[in-house]
């Protein structure tokens, strides 16, 4: 049995902190999966009877326009702290893009805002890469100072794809470089999964019916922009550090 690289019972604690009784998610929910993995990493604080034992905040619905993420972010970080360290985790299922999906919807500004706000540990994660996610949550807990995690949660209902594809979509978002996995420690950026040959964005976007209306020229534009953004990110990062195992 040791010849298998992935042998989950050896790598993870057996304790199940996620109470399935309280889960009122849809089937194949990427957010429920992400929450379960986060609880597994934290090792405590069970979700019980539909209530969260951890402070929970919905995004500010009154704010309209493209800047709502940036406006909500400082409010999140200016929680009353009283000399305590705060770990904030954003479970992003891109619900607010709604029907207005343009060629810009995939941009994630929240981690950049968190870096600009001076958070000492900022990272992005996806439930498609669970061991990476768990390692990042553990790292965020042990890191000195505040921490911010941005987790992209595939939503089968909102994005309109088959529920069994949730994990695959989470992987494809990373593999197509639309959602690169990186962490910023005290202003220094490390890319965790740097792919020599990223998948084309059409693999990721054509799976989802919410992107059905995007024409081929739109997709070409997204491909171009994402390559530009990714090169900008990798230019500002130190590569080859802390590369987690791929699964």
């Amino acid at each position: 049995m040791d010849r298998y690289a992935v042998f989950v019972p050896k790598l993870l604690p057996r304790k199940e902190c996620f109470v399935p009784d309280a889960s009122i998610s849809c089937k194949g929910c990427g957010e429920a999966l992400a929450i379960r993995l986060v609880y597994k990493a934290l090792g405590s604080a069970p979700m019980h009877k539909g209530t969260w034992k951890i402070p929970f905040k919905q995004p500010v619905p009154e704010l309209k326009g493209a800047d709502k993420d940036e406006a909500a972010m400082p409010a999140l970080l200016r929680l009353p702290k009283e000399d305590k360290q705060v770990l904030s985790i954003c479970f992003d299922n891109e619900a607010r893009t709604g029907k207005n999906i343009s060629t810009e919807f995939w941009r994630k500004r929240m981690p950049a805002v968190a870096v600009a706000e001076g958070v000492s540990y900022v990272a992005t994660a996806s439930p498609g890469y669970p061991f990476d996610l768990i390692a990042k949550v553990k790292k965020a807990c042990s890191a000195p100072g505040d921490a911010y995690l941005h987790i992209l949660c595939p939503c089968p209902v909102g994005w309109a794809f088959d529920p069994s594809l949730s994990v695959q979509v989470g992987k494809l978002a990373v593999d197509s470089n639309l959602f690169p996995l990186y962490e910023v420690i005290h202003g220094t950026c490390f890319i965790n999964i740097a792919l020599a040959k990223p998948r084309p964005v059409t693999d990721y976007l054509r799976l989802q019916k919410r992107c059905q209306h995007l024409s081929d020229t739109d997709l070409a534009e997204i491909q171009k922009q994402s390559a530009l953004e990714y090169s900008r990110l990798s230019a500002s990062s130190k590569q080859g550090e802390k590369a987690h195992e791929r699964h």
Binding site: M1, Y4, V6, F7, V8, P9, L12, R14, E16, F18, V19, P20, D21, S23, I24, S25, C26, K27, G28, C29, G30, A32, L33, R36, K49, G50, P130, P156, D162, P163, S164, L165, S166, V167, Q168
Partner: protein, 90 residues
């Protein structure tokens, strides 16, 4: 425990938190079935189950709890060895 077919038309819940007594797996159309000959006990299905419905048994195999499984089919798709197939619910 109550089931969803005992509910009113349109599954209307008239009181707050009335959904709590219902089993979460009542509405599924497919359920996973495990072929123990192909299973290597890697427990990837256990890792990827969004509802935590798959339990690790003492003998190493993973078993889906039919009370909580919603039948999404992630376990069947993520199994590298094809040991899990989705059967139609009867």
């Amino acid at each position: 425990m109550a089931t969803w077919d005992q509910n009113k038309v349109g599954c209307i819940l008239l009181e707050k938190k009335l959904a709590q007594p219902f089993k979460k797996g009542d509405k599924r159309t497919h359920k996973p079935s495990l072929n123990t000959e192909q299973c290597t006990k890697c427990a990837l299905c256990y890792l990827y189950c969004p509802d935590g419905a798959i339990r690790l048994r003492d003998d190493g195999f993973c078993e889906a709890d039919t009370d909580y499984c919603k039948g999404c089919g992630i376990c069947a798709r993520e199994c590298w060895f094809g040991a899990i197939t989705m059967m139609e619910e009867r």
